[in-house]
């Protein structure tokens, strides 16, 4: 039973994408609704009910043309696309612009965030330098500071930055991305570093002997090997940024510059009752990119998140 020792389990390090390993294993087994999995379906359906009933409520409000927060009905008393049409046709509430801005902010922000995090993780994982350990610990501690308190300072900072570089000042989506990137290194470096550590150093050594530089190793080899974690971090950060509205609402004043989070939030603070239908419709549509991303990246995601920690 030596294999039960967790320490032993940490030895085998997957050189290939872990998901691939699993898939081969899957191949050997017959699929289908066998007698032995029906209970899994039953429980999964139960879980779906739990997961979806508040969403059914939102769907119901979204297609209900009279669209108020009618608190006790799951079934709408009418169905129409009126709320969706409203969303796309209200000049004072430019939903389409919000959507584009959100995709831009979350997309670019997450890509940059992953890149910065990966660079830092590479350094922390592969190199030894003064301040490495304290640096890692400091990054951890910094995450504990209640971030909302620092928003005032961020606002002032970006007011000044906007004075020098208007393109990334307040009220710009690019500025907002920059603000988010302040936390890019701290938020993900632990997760990333854990995964980087699982890529054997021997591979690096071999490449070095071949004459490859550290940069070449990083870009052409390491990044490929750690792809699952990169996808995972991208996904998590995308979800976080896509509907973030606390910081964004301080940054983005113009309606056309706003993101979905800010816009929808403003919609419901303007009048919770009047705009409840469009608000729900907008929220539903807002969930699409995340679901699509998840579907698209499911293979990479599997194994990305925690593999790093199973050293």
């Amino acid at each position: 039973m030596s294999a039960i020792d967790p320490a032993a389990a940490q030895v085998p390090v997957p050189l290939v994408r872990p998901a691939a390993t699993v898939q081969t294993a899957v191949g050997h087994q017959p699929r289908g609704i066998g007698r032995r999995v029906w209970w899994r379906h039953a429980l999964a359906i139960l879980a779906l009910i739990w997961a979806l009933f508040p969403i059914v409520f939102i769907v119901s409000a979204a297609i209900n043309p009279s669209g108020t927060l009618s608190t006790s009905s799951l079934i709408p008393n009418g169905a129409s696309m009126a709320n969706f049409r409203w969303l796309f046709n209200a000049p004072a509430w430019p939903y389409v612009s919000w959507y584009k801005n959100s995709l831009y902010v979350a997309g670019v922000g997450s890509l940059a965030s992953v890149f910065i995090g990966a660079c830092a993780a590479y350094a922390f994982s592969r190199m030894r330098f003064a301040g490495r350990r304290p640096g890692l610990l400091a990054l951890l501690l910094l995450q504990m500071f209640p971030a909302i308190l620092a928003f005032v300072a961020l606002y002032i900072t970006f007011d000044k930055i906007g004075g020098a570089l208007p393109q990334v000042g307040l009220n710009t989506t690019s500025g907002l991305i920059l603000a988010y990137l302040g936390g890019a290194m701290g938020a993900n470096v632990w997760l990333l570093k854990g995964y980087f550590d699982t890529v054997p150093r021997e591979l690096d050594e071999a490449a070095k002997v071949d004459g490859a530089s550290h940069a070449r190793i990083f870009f052409t080899m390491t990044l490929r090997l750690v792809l699952p974690i990169l996808v995972t971090v991208f996904m998590l950060s995308f979800v976080g940024l896509f509907s973030e509205f606390l910081l964004a609402s301080i940054f983005l004043r113009d309606v056309n510059q706003q993101t979905l989070g800010v816009g929808l939030w403003a919609l419901q603070t303007a009048d919770k009752n009047k705009y409840f239908g469009p608000f729900c419709a907008g929220a539903l549509l807002a969930s699409l990119p995340v679901v699509l991303l998840y579907l698209g990246f499911q293979k990479q995601l599997v194994g990305g998140l925690t593999q790093g920690s199973v050293k």
Binding site: L69, S70, P91, V152, D159, R253, D254, D271
Partner: protein
């Protein structure tokens, strides 16, 4: 609206720059728009925001920059353009979804607008922070505006803005269920009981009042005022005096006792709040609803026939008095161009057609007498809303009001839910409020 907005705004604005927005007076809902269809129909797209894309917070190429919320900006755009043309200047209306917060923050860093459109209860805080400029309206203009509206634009004896609309709550009734307007609470309850009996279970509530679990001081106040209580006493010059807190005065307690009785008899409930009251009324579940112009949209959509009348009088007390909310234009103390800004708000925004346009879009009675007369003649609602607010006092615009929303709202909620007695609840609220004001 008021207390309800706490979560919302405090959440959005942890940035202390606008933390006080927690009490955010009428921003929550009352001062918000009420007719999406009309507001979006008004001519142009919300703002010349296209010109500001990628620019820093303020549009630096403009001669005059105005910030307003989505619905108001839509109304304003046309007149701003005309004003710009007449004076050959570039006027830009920018949409700000939270004017109070954005203005406070941007003004401190020197990148704010010249003019904002907002509610009068923001005033005290703006003055404290040196953010707004006094405006001398002159006797002629003052005489053209409703006195209560002008009164609300004053703080410490100085006038700071130009009012364009007033709003207050009244008694909305479903005329199918309650054909006559009650003038006393007893009449109201009797009518409601009859309506309930007749409906065979469809009518579940006698009277809707947005209370919620944390209460709502805006809707609690009229009950206190009816019995001679209130929130703050007034100084000789009519200003509210933060040193006279009337929360546990005999009058307030008397009003609270009525709330307690209504809670016991299940007329009022802390389960009715801002999220469900509109739809309950729209579903015909209650003959009466105490709320403001912003609450009738759902009923209209649902085809409910309604009428508005003044709030009833309470047994053993006088008539319930709501707060008046005034919507106004402010000129920034940091305005790049005060002359143009003042010209715009004093001579242009006080025109008949402008104030009428605001009414058309937002349903609030205009503050300009001539505009009011015009719309009141054609729209029975306006007249009814106005009459429901006759004799009412403006909501306090002193900063001390920030300390009132929480404790007073909660005291009202606890009395209604029966968790506490009027005396205990309002004594505790008084203590909290006085302590908070002393703390500063």
């Amino acid at each position: 609206m008021h207390r309800r907005a706490i979560g919302a705004v405090a959440l959005m604005v942890p940035a202390a720059l606008a933390m006080s927005a927690c009490s955010s007076g009428s921003t929550g809902g009352s001062s918000s728009s009420s007719t999406s269809s009309t507001s979006s129909a008004s001519a142009t797209t919300p703002a010349a925001t296209s010109t500001t894309t990628g620019a820093p917070v303020r549009d630096t190429t403009a001669d005059l920059v105005i910030w307003a919320d989505n619905d108001r900006a839509a109304v304003l755009q046309k007149y701003a353009d005309a004003f710009g043309k007449e004076n050959s200047v570039k006027v830009v209306v920018q949409v700000s979804t939270d004017v109070r917060k954005d203005f406070s923050a941007a003004t401190q860093t020197g990148n704010g607008p010249d003019v904002i459109v907002g509610a009068h209860d923001w005033l005290g805080e703006f003055v404290q922070n040196g953010a707004v400029e006094p405006i001398n309206l002159g006797a002629d203009l003052t005489a053209k505006l409703l006195p209560s509206a002008v009164a609300a634009t004053r703080f410490n004896g100085q006038t700071y803005g130009v009012p364009y609309a007033i709003e207050n709550i009244g008694l909305i009734r479903n005329t199918a269920l309650a054909p006559t307007a009650p003038t006393t609470l007893d009449q109201l309850l009797a009518e409601a009981t009859a309506a309930k009996a007749k409906s065979g279970g469809k009518v579940t509530n006698s009277l809707l009042l947005q209370v919620g679990k944390t209460g709502n001081a805006y809707f609690t106040y009229p009950w206190l005022k009816a019995c001679g209580g209130g929130i703050f006493g007034q100084k000789a010059n009519g200003d509210y005096d933060p040193k006279q807190v009337l929360i546990n005065s005999a009058g307030s307690i008397k009003g609270a006792t009525i709330l307690q009785q209504l809670g016991q008899s299940k007329v009022l409930s802390t389960n009715v709040d801002g999220t469900n009251a509109d739809s309950l009324f729209a579903a015909g579940k209650a003959p009466f609803y105490i709320s403001g112009p912003w609450s009738i949209d759902a009923a209209k959509k649902a085809g409910i026939k309604y009428a508005i009348s003044p709030l009833p009088s309470l047994p053993g007390c006088g008539k319930m008095q709501p707060f008046l909310g005034i919507q106004m234009f402010y000129v920034s103390a940091k305005a790049k161009n005060k002359a143009l800004a003042e010209e715009f708000v004093t001579n242009y925004m006080t025109r008949d057609d402008v104030q009428t346009a605001f009414f058309t879009a937002l349903n609030r009675p205009p503050a300009l007498k001539t505009a009011y007369d015009k719309v009141a003649a054609t729209n029975p609602d306006v007249k009814a809303w106005y009459e429901a607010g006759v004799g009412a006092l403006p909501m306090p615009n002193i900063p001390a009001m920030n300390s009132v929303w929480g404790p007073l709202g909660q005291a009202g909620a606890d009395v209604i839910s029966g968790k506490s007695t009027p005396k205990a609840a309002f004594d505790a609220a008084q203590k909290d409020i006085v302590a908070a004001i002393a703390k500063g």
